[in-house]
């Protein structure tokens, strides 16, 4: 069958049996190995059998019709499942599923159909295109060099030094507008990251309710997620939260290796520490109440609450800053002042302080 093509297909166009293609000059490979040449062209079923060709034609058009079905599914899904009216999460998931499947199927079928068409019905004769030298001829190259040299000569840029130097000067200051424009991407954070909403007398309140916390509420083993009072009314609550979020826990005093210089920063064993990891700023909130370890979920930095949140594992470099707290005359926990060190990860102007 292979030697008797029945389609109007041209016979083999290859330069099969060529001799110069494989063996580089100057070797005697030719003498040692016979160049086998290219394999004979293999005809496809669709080349030889008209029935198979018609069948392939039907397959390709069926695939294109399937693509149209996918498009219709998308459109029906878009109009039949409006997410504006039924705002449930289930509806959103269903809408996304139908739109995605419909459109994805439509595009996929176009691609599959085109490839199937090309593989089964379009001509598949082998062709060889020999490579050319990339470089031009000697004459072309000499001409090109002469054009440049003549240009330099005719412009007189080497002779007219005033023009040349003024051009260099003008080009030299041209990038300065870019410097000015990039400067407007600022301003640099400056002191903004050094200060949070905590200051003397600000109440510690529950996240997310904003209700104040009595010292007596903080029992041993419990943990409170804390935001400063009035944070929601500030100009940028989310940015303030990123600096001021605090974790409140109570530890039996005999378990704490208290640093003498931090005497009075806790209230009756109730400690408040920044919840923002000093590594890259994830919320460190995985509190193991038996070991008193705080674990950061992002990179597993582990802080020991019994040692003023010293880093005992992971990539964080600095301990979590402690918020000095006390109680006000109504028994609610309040801050004594802001964090002694900027909370959160390092930044350019921060310096090396703990």
């Amino acid at each position: 069958m292979k030697d008797s093509p029945t389609t109007g297909h041209a016979a083999v166009h290859s330069h099969g049996g060529g001799t110069d293609l494989a063996a580089p000059e100057g070797t005697d490979l030719e003498n040692r190995f016979a160049n086998p040449g290219l394999p004979a062209h293999r005809f496809r079923v669709t080349d030889t059998d008209p029935k198979a060709a018609r069948s392939a034609e039907r397959q390709v058009s069926t695939i294109f019709l399937l693509s149209a079905v996918g498009t219709v599914v998308f459109l029906v899904g878009y109009f039949a499942l409006p997410i504006e009216e039924d705002k449930s999460f289930e509806r959103l998931l269903l809408s996304t599923l139908v739109l995605g499947l419909g459109l994805g199927f439509a595009i996929f079928c176009i691609g599959i159909g085109l490839v199937h068409w090309a593989k089964t019905l379009m001509p598949d004769h082998e062709q060889i295109e020999l490579r050319h030298d990339i470089a031009g001829t000697e004459d072309d190259r000499r001409d090109a060099a002469n054009i440049i040299l003549d240009g330099v000569e005719e412009s007189g840029v080497m002779r007219r030094t005033v023009i040349r130097n003024s051009l260099i000067g003008a080009l030299g200051i041209l990038p300065i507008p870019a410097v000015v424009l990039f400067r407007d991407l600022g301003p640099l954070p400056g002191e903004v990251l050094r200060h949070s909403l905590w200051e003397n007398g600000v109440r510690l309140t529950r996240d997310p309710d904003g209700t104040p916390i009595r010292a007596a509420d903080v029992t041993y083993g419990s943990v409170f997620h804390v935001i400063p009072d009035g944070m929601e009314d500030s100009a940028h609550p989310i940015e303030e939260k990123a600096k001021a979020a605090v974790l409140l826990i109570r530890i039996q005093p005999e378990k704490v290796q208290a640093a003498p210089e931090r005497d009075g920063w806790d209230y009756d064993g109730i400690y408040a520490y920044s919840k923002i990891c000093t590594h890259v700023g994830c919320p460190v909130a995985l509190y193991e109440q038996q070991t008193h370890h705080l674990l950061c979920p992002c990179h597993q930095s582990t802080f020991d609450l019994t040692q003023h949140c010293k880093v005992i594992f992971g990539p964080a470099k600095r301990p979590l800053p402690q918020l000095p707290i006390t109680v006000d005359n109504e028994g609610y926990l309040v801050a004594q002042r802001d964090f002694p060190y900027p909370p959160g990860p390092s930044y350019w102007e921060r310096g090396e302080s703990e």
């Binding site: 999460f89 289930e90 593989k119 509420d217 997620h225 919320p283 193991e288 370890h293």
Partner: protein
């Protein structure tokens, strides 16, 4: 009133007034202070039966007086809620010395668990099993939404945002919370089992605890039109699936593209 006024100067008048005042203060105190948490209506028989169960099954680690040993903590003051959680989820009795107790098939009947709870509650005041109204899920959408907010703030960092659980340090983990009963979630927050911190009623009120449990129930039972949720774990499982399945599909397409038609 005249008769009362006339006897005001009686030598015993001061004593009577003092007794009355003590009665008022004592009565007010007993009415106004929150009732100490204790198992509801535990009879002496229950406590006795619980003690026998305790001695047979728990005293080896927790001590004959539940005072605690090197192998297990004291149970004085942990309350019936702790017993109901630890035994009712199969975590106790412990099967082996491990970083953390696994939940296993429950070893005791509900009645036996209640009896052990009554015995432990009789040793010292502690958190009690929640009342029946908090042992059920609510389907109020506003409360489920509130539960989601509280869960994201207080719980999701360990337990994952849909309660699928997650890893902690040194072989410990935060368990999967889907399919856990409202009662056990409530008790876990109240008692802080194992590595978990306590969320007392002053921090998260009983209603809010119920909101959180209801959110978890909602998240676990919400239908997923797409079919495969991959555990709702987020980018890890979904990314792995996309890479593995997606690259396999792309490789398949590439092989088909490169293959000659027959």
């Amino acid at each position: 009133m005249k008769a009362l006024a006339a006897r005001r100067r009686h030598p015993l008048g001061g004593v009577v007034v003092m007794l009355l005042a003590l009665l008022v203060v004592g009565g007010a105190y007993s009415v106004l202070t929150p009732a100490p948490a204790s198992a509801a209506a535990a009879t002496d028989d229950d406590i006795q039966a619980g003690k026998e169960l305790f001695l047979a099954n728990c005293a080896n680690c927790h001590g004959l007086q539940a005072q605690g040993t090197d192998a297990g903590p004291t149970l004085i003051g942990v309350g019936s809620a702790s017993v109901d959680f630890q035994v009712g989820t199969g975590r106790m009795p412990l099967s082996a010395n491990q970083p953390q107790a696994h939940d296993k098939p429950v070893q005791f009947s509900d009645e036996q668990i209640a009896q052990m709870g009554a015995f432990v509650a009789s040793l010292g005041p502690g958190p009690a099993v929640p009342p029946a109204e908090f042992q059920e899920f609510t389907d109020d959408p506003e409360r489920i939404s509130k539960g989601n907010e509280l869960f994201r703030t207080n719980c999701a960092m360990c337990h994952n945002v849909v309660g699928a659980g997650g890893a902690l340090t040194r072989g410990k983990w935060a368990p999967n919370l889907q399919d856990v009963s409202a009662k056990h979630i409530y008790e876990a927050m109240l008692t802080g089992p194992q590595s978990m911190p306590v969320f007392n009623d002053a921090n998260i009120t009983p209603e809010e605890k119920q909101d959180i449990a209801s959110y978890l129930h909602f998240a676990g039972t919400e239908p997923s039109p797409g079919g495969l949720t991959l555990g709702g774990l987020g980018p890890v499982s979904e990314g792995l699936f996309a890479w593995a399945a997606g690259i396999l599909a792309l490789v398949g397409c590439a092989v088909w593209l490169g293959a000659k038609a027959s």
